[in-house]
Assembly symmetry: C2
Homo-oligomer: 248 residues x 2
DNA sequence: AACGCAACTTGAATCTGGTTCATTATCCGG
DNA sequence: CCGGATAATGAACCAGATTCAAGTTGCGTT
């Protein structure tokens, strides 16, 4: 059994190598210039070997996005347990998302690209499933925040909606603003400034609209900014130290 | 002069032919299977001629998306003048968007694809500009709705925000929900039902949160649905009859 | 220690499809 | 009707993803 096991491990290790190296390529030269043959070469393997792991280039891209997303997801896990009001936790979700994406521009670009129906459709079902699952912890963390809020009475639940569905609004606001912020030239064309401050303000408005206690004054931008800073500080302290993976 | 003028017209006509035929291709076989040479052939032109019009395939895709977007934009123009309360007008925007995208799935897919930084970056600046401009009327219409709302006192403006920026929240909610709704399998994976009813509910919550009068009860789903139906009916009556473009 | 088999690796060849460009055709003003 | 400018043509080109026939490797067996 042990040889089989060892092989599996080696295989997994190599897959990581490919993914890691591909991320490096993308960071250096952009998604556009990632080439299967060059990637294989850079890892000291033949092109064909790459295809042992990934059925197609799209598959590889999903795999990379999945890896990123897993890392992103871990950032959300401590949130439900942070010493914050339920509403602040919800904002912590928004802030975590903003900060992660701001500091990983490649991740957003890639995720955006693979989420495209064109690319999505040409990846294998397994990879698609893996990507969807990598996002699940975020979904769960957020749902938990909502559930707790309802339990503590900060939010009076909406009978027809599940926790996820209540959280979905906030999530969509995020996704939409990221898209806007990344659409090169759109902000300028439409004279929108500082998208993430705006996102924060609208998130607060939405929470108010859902009746999520304590309501705050959305005109008080100073207060909003200060609260965000407080929450960010706490998030930094609670950050999982990024598990630096052992070099092989 | 007239011959030069005629040539320009012919050129424009042909460009339309290409775009139209490409849309047809996409509708029939999907974005994935659009091929430059086959498209040219289908229009009875040589491949090279296609490249007289579009510097690259990406350019062509932007052109198609732009054409669609223009049509989409016209649907928003009557909204600021509809006999509705300002808040209902804002909902009319949301509904128009939902309905247009629901009935033009290809449009969303294409727009999503070309908005991707990868594709966007490899199109020519002119095409990018044209696409951005095609969306401007929507932006203006929505801004106007906000401006009117502030003028009539339905919405007490937010000193630090421009009308566009106030509208941006609602817009992002839309964009985000469309993304979610189109991400094959995500809704199921995260157990979210009926995304567009949800979008409506969250839009109402956001408007409430912005203090947009008259506030409504977001728990009253029946009322929300009925109001949406009323607005939709009005929108249908005011629909610009789609200008059926003369066949050449 | 040698053998045979299965599984894996290799990278040159294949294939697809976007893009180019030398050639040819068209059009226009004189 | 001529000469040159302008545009159309489509076969050739090229990049790069994907394949696959040939060669290796490593394991268990004799």
């Amino acid at each position: 059994m042990s040889t089989q096991e060892r092989k599996r491990r080696e295989r997994e290790l190599r897959e990581r190598l490919f993914v890691r190296e591909a991320q490096e390529f993308i960071r250096r030269e952009g998604l556009l210039h990632l080439q299967m043959s060059r990637l294989a070469e850079a890892c000291d393997y033949a092109t064909g070997t790459l295809y042992q792991h990934f059925a197609s280039k799209e598959d590889l891209l999903l795999a990379i996005a999945t890896e990123d997303l897993k890392r992103r997801a871990t950032a959300f896990q401590p949130i439900p347990h942070l010493p914050l009001s339920s509403r602040e936790r919800m904002l912590a979700v928004v802030l975590t998302d903003i900060d992660f994406i701001s500091s990983h521009p490649d991740h957003f670009q890639l995720l955006q690209y693979v989420s495209t129906e064109v690319i999505w459709a040409s990846a294998s079902p397994d990879r698609r499933k893996a990507l969807a699952e990598a996002g699940a912890p975020i979904c769960e963390a957020v749902s938990q925040v909502v559930t707790t809020a309802v339990a503590t009475g900060d939010l009076s639940g909406i009978p027809t909606l599940r926790p996820v569905e209540i959280a979905a609004g906030s999530w969509c606001l995020n996704v939409g603003m990221h898209s806007l912020a990344h659409a090169h030239g759109l902000l300028e064309a439409y004279a929108v400034r500082d998208p993430y401050a705006l996102l924060l303000q609208h998130s607060q408005a939405l929470l108010n609209g859902l009746g999520w206690q304590p309501l705050i004054d959305i005109r008080d931008t100073r207060n909003i900014a200060e609260q965000a800073q407080r929450i960010r500080a706490l998030l930094r302290d609670n950050m999982q130290p990024v598990v630096s993976e052992r070099p092989d």
